[in-house]
Structure formats: structure tokens, C-alpha cells
Amino acid sequence: MDFLTLIQLLDSAVRLATPLLLACLAGLYSERAGIFDIGLEGKMLAAAFFSAAIAALTGSVWIGLLAGIAASLALSAIHGVASITFRGNQLISGVAINFLAAGLTVLIAQSWFKQGGRTPSLIGNARFEPITLPFAEALQNVPVLGPIYYELISGHSILVYIAFAAVPFTWWLLFRTRFGLRLRAVGENPAAVDTAGVSVVGLRFAAVGICGILCGIAGAYLSTALQAGFVKDMAAGRGFIALAALIFAKWRPWYALYACLLFGLFGALETRPDVIENLIGVKVQIQLLAALPYLMTVIILAGFVGKAIPPRAGGEPYVKER
């Protein structure tokens, strides 16, 4: 495998890791605050549809992005009201959201566009285009560093940079600010937060809201940057892979980045079976490669990768003790 192939592979991994990373961080905020969210998938799907649909209708990808975030936030609000206000079962609420999104997106798409549950293909300003970073062209012939900068770092859509910037930001927010301290505390022991005179409900809604925004961006990325339009079930289990990555990452932002990049790399390998063949000398079935991320998910969720301790109050509605 030559250097350029490696760079291209990594470049592809970055693209594929981006929606996972956004969804994974979304889950991180929610679960750190004690609200389990298996509805990441549904929120991404809804956001993917609405951002593509609104971008197609208005011709502006930015309005599309906002619509995607709004759709995801609406589902977050349902999850929040069900699991925080009414102290319902968080898993059931999440499952309901996934079903709701899977059905509604196709239904509305068919009703609006009559293209068999798709949106029209997005062109021009209705899509996030790759950005060429400053000096990328000029530096591309510098040995080693040139291709890394030009191929790998430059040339992604703005959402990719947002996703990667969200990692240090999340770390900083969680571990360096008052809000982060309270957010982590409410996921560990809400009674401690409550008796300290801070609103448990307020904090949890804030976390679920951030989760909705990040899922919205993740969904918009799928349909307006990675692809050019919405197709049925386009989230393709990424919400669940993001959950597996979150457990793999032990609910930490930097680990989440590494976990998502790993999954992204698996996804990239699927598109380049020739690389694998060169590397190990055996031709591997493309179906097997395609199954890799999902196999990893099962292995991680089954607890084979070390011991991961979830936030202690996760999944438990908070009821004041008598």
C-alpha cells in the first residue's frame, strides 16, 4: 500500500466517521446527564430527511441544516417530556422515536416529492461543498506533509470541521465549566444536585437539547454533505454504532473521537477491498467487510472490550426521596 492510498483511505475514514462522531457526542451529553438515548438513530434520520427536503425546496443548505436541527430537537423534546417530565421508560421512548422517524420520513417524502420516499438530488447551494483550506493548493507538492494537508485535512465540508472541533469543546465544557460539573453530577447522583439547590429537570433538558442539536447536524451531514439527498433508512444503523462507540469510549469525548475514527476506517475499508487484498494477500468478500462495523458493534455491546461503567443514575427517572 503506497502513501497516497493510505492518505485516501484515512480521508475516507474521516468522512465516514463524522456522522458517527456527532451522534456519539450527542449521546454522550444525554447519557452523561443520566438520560439513555437509543433514539439517536431516529433523530438522525428525521434530521437527514428534513434538511434535504428543506434544502431542496429553498435551495439553501443552511436553511436545510436549521430544519434538520429543528426536527431532531422536536424528537428530543418528546424524549425529554416522556423520560424527564413524566419519568417514563427511556428505552421505550427511544424505540418509539426510532419507529416514528423511520415511518414518518418516508411517508412525508412520498407525499411531498412523489419519488418513492426520496428527496430530489441536491445540487449547488442546496448541498455542503468541500472547503479548500488556505494554501492547500500551494502546499500540495511539499513531500509528506503536503498530501496530508491537501488530501486529508483540507477538502471536507464545514460540518466535518464542526464535528472534530466539537470534541475538544465537549471536553472543555464537561470538565472545565460549572455547567459540565453539574451535568456530570446529575448523571451520577441527581439527589446531590437537587439538594445543592440546582434543578435536575433543567439540567437534563439542557443535555437532551444539546443531544438533539448534534443529532440534527449528524443527520444533515448524511443527506446534504455525504450524499446528495435523502433516501429511505439512510441512517443505516449509524445511531446504534454511535452508541456502541460511546460505550467503547467509556463516555469520554477524546475516546469517542478515536472510537468513531476506528469505525470510520472500517467503513472506508469496505470501499477499498483491493487494499485489504494487497495487505493480507487474501481476497476478502465485500459483504464481510460491509458487516465489519456491525460485528464490532455487537462485540462491543456484548462487553468484550474491557469494563465500561456507565453514569450511575443512567436510565433512572429522578424521584425525590421521602
Binding site: 460539573l181 451520577e188 445543592a196
Partner: protein
Amino acid sequence: MTTAPAIELKGISKAFGPVQANKDISIRVMPGTIHGIIGENGAGKSTLMSILYGFYKADKGEIFIKGYKTQIPDSQAAIAAGIGMVFQHFKLVENFTVLENIILGAEDGRWLKPSIAKARRTLLELSEDYGLSVEPDALIQDIGVGMQQRVEILKALYRQADILILDEPTGVLTPAEADQLFRILDRLRAEGKTIILITHKLREIMDTTDTVSVMRRGEMTATVKTAETSPAELAELMVGRKVLLRVDKTPAQPKDVVLDIKDLHVRDEKGVERLKGINLTVRAGEVLGIAGVAGNGQSELLEVLGGYAEGTGNITVNGQPLDLTGKYSDGQSRRAHGIAHVPEDRQREGLIMEFAAWENVAFGYHHDEAYRSGALMDNTAIREDTEGKMERFDVRPPDPKLAAKNFSGGNQQKIVLAREIERNPDLLLIGQPTRGVDIGAIEFIHQQIIALRDKGKAVLLVSVELDEIMALSDRIAVMFDGHIMGERLPSQTDEKELGLLMAGIGAQK
């Protein structure tokens, strides 16, 4: 001199559905004093304090803090009014450091670093002023309960509380830790803080408080100066009738050896040795009390004898060897040997909280002929039998269909006791018989244990309450770190000597 009371409550009432938890309660707590509130479980003490801390809103009544009428709709308002609360179950984040727990909710601005730096300085001053030593950077999960409690107190002081409420603070502490706590409370009082101490332990009230209020069934029955009252009077006010604080018993008439334990070793699931060669005998007609700080192997001893942990060594009951590891090492086989067991944690091991009293009474004895009709359980017979047991053991309310969780701690314990004692066992194992049990029920439970002994049965009593061990035992064995440190006769020892043995000091006589 006229000083406004630190806290004055006027006519506080609070009902939960049909249950009147607090009825027209008025109380004045003067600044710079330690005010005790005593009452049985369920008397309404915790509800009253929850109202004061903004957890519940009173249906009626007024709250005055330092002379000013105050509304306390939430904990934020309570903190603002200078009230700090140390709950019975600590409200700490286990995987946060001490400092992080202290600043949580009282941070100094949006950024953590300056908040923590400031808290560190303040913490040092507070620790020195009041003798509250803590490790600022240790994680809560790594420090002992004594220090966790000091963190709770510091949390309140950090929020500039000058009224401190402590709810059953000594429930989880060793006697030495409790002494340290009371020294801290003395110091806080000397600095002008007002302290409300909620407890059901008479001795703590007598030793530390200036005034004491007694609650019974949601009402405040009396407020007296501690110096002018006696434990007997307080107990009577609490229960509403005269209570025997000492257990009346005749000297034991020990007969044949019932339980004989030789060189018992037990390892836990991590492979750590928890019992390191225990030798004990219990004779018919005597109570052997096992004293010790919780966690020194008493639980493991009961578990092996009860048949739900494995061990190595020789144990005989009435001369018959017990199977310690094999097929017959279970509760059913133990019961066949004439062993009955009232476990330490009645809510986890003694009862299924969601199940009705009669179902709980059948547990372990569901194979009994009287409880069966053919292959099925005879539910009517069990319910009738349960009704009889509830009557004889004064369980209130005497309703076999009520779920175990709806009984008070004392009544739950009476249900377990009735199930086990009425089987007329040769050997009764009983762990923490009166933990979380009110005074009236304690008296009854103690009488039942002595009555069983007087019938010529053997009793192995495990308790962390030294008073209880001293009052009930005919012989006392002290456990420390998986060893028996020594055996004493209650008449020939005192709390000081036992306390030293419990701490692992002193050679075997």
C-alpha cells in the same frame, strides 16, 4: 435578653393522601444550641425536616428564620436562608472529588478552576476552624463513611449555613466515628451555629443536646430541657407508654452444645479470606452475642451457617455435621437441621418487599404439610396462619394481604421473627435484630429472643449495637478481621474493654 429563635415553626401540617405526617407542629430552636428531635420511625421527623429544607411544601403553617417569616419553596431557598442539611443517605457524587462535591451548585462563576482554587482555600480554613479533616482531592468512593459525612457538613458550611440539620447521623458510623462527630458538633455550637439533631437513639440525645423535642405519630408531644429529663421519660413520651429500657432476664441455664464451629474459613468471591479460623460453641438455653464493627466477618459467619455461602471447616448442630460446600449447603437443608435464620438485611434477605405478608411467611416453609393441599399451596391456610402469627407478634396493621414494603421497619422485622421463631428451631441465628426498628418494637423483639432462650434453645446473636449485645448475651465473642478476638462474660467486662477488642487491640485471655 431577647434573641429571636434561629428557627420557629408555627402550626406546620402536612398530609400525604390519608396519612397525616405532621399535625400542627410548633417548635422554637434557639441559636447556638443543639436541639434534638427524637421519635420512632414514621413519627414524622424526616417529613418535618424535608419541609424545612424545601423538599415538601407544608399544607399549613408558617416558618420563621431568625425572626423573619420565610417561604421555603425549594432547596435553593433553604440554602439562602442559611440552612444546611446532612441527610441520612449522603447526597454525594461517588466519582467526584471531595472538592468537586463541595462546590457543586455553589460554584464561584462559570469556570471550574478558579472555583476549585477558592474552595480549596476556604476548605482549609473551615477544616481548621471546626476540626473537620478531609482529603480535598480524594474521590468520595475511596473515603470512609466518617469522612463522607464530614464532607456533607463542609458542604453546608461552605454555603455559609448557620443552621445545620443532621438526620440520623450516627446510623452508619462506628462508635469512635460517632464520638468524633459529636466533638465536631460541640465545636460548631461553640462557634455559634445552631444544630438540629434528628435521631431515635436516646443516648445521643442525652449526651449532646441542650433541648429535645419528642414526636409521636406526626405530633410534637413535648419539648424539654435535656438536663431536666431522663431517658425513661423520653422513651415514654416517644412510645406513649412506659418502656423497659433494660431487658429483664434471669441467669442462663446452659445445657448441651447445639452449635459447634471448628476452624471455619471463608473466602469471598474475590478470594479474600473473610473468616480466618473461627471456633465457637453455643449451648442450648444461652445467647451467644457476637460483637464487632460491621464488616469484620460477622455477615460471612451468618451466611455460612444460613447455607448461602461456602466455607471450609467443621460445623455440627446437635452433633450432626453440616454440609458446607456441597449439595446440602442450602437454606432448606439448614432448616432440616433445626436452624432458623433472621438475616441482617431484612429487606434484601429476609423479605420480598413487593410480596404480601402471607407470601413472605410461607417462604422457606412452603413445603410444610400445613401449607399444602396436594401439589398446590394452600393459600387460605397460609393466610390464616399468618394472621395468627401477626396477632401473637403484635404486627401492625395485622393484615396478611399487605405488601411487606408497606409495614414499618419494626413490623417487617416482627414478620420475619414470627416466621422463624414459631418454627421452634433448636438454633436461632439472628443478625442486627433491631436495626432501623423503633423503641417499642425493640423491647418486644428482645423479649422474644430471651423467651426463646428460656425455652432451652440456642441463640447466636450478631449485632453492631454494643448496648444490645450487652443486654441480651450470656456470653460475648468479639470479632475483628475474621478472627474471634476473645470471649467475655457480660458481668465481667465493660464497653471499654469490648471496644478495644473490636478495634483489634488486646490478646486472647
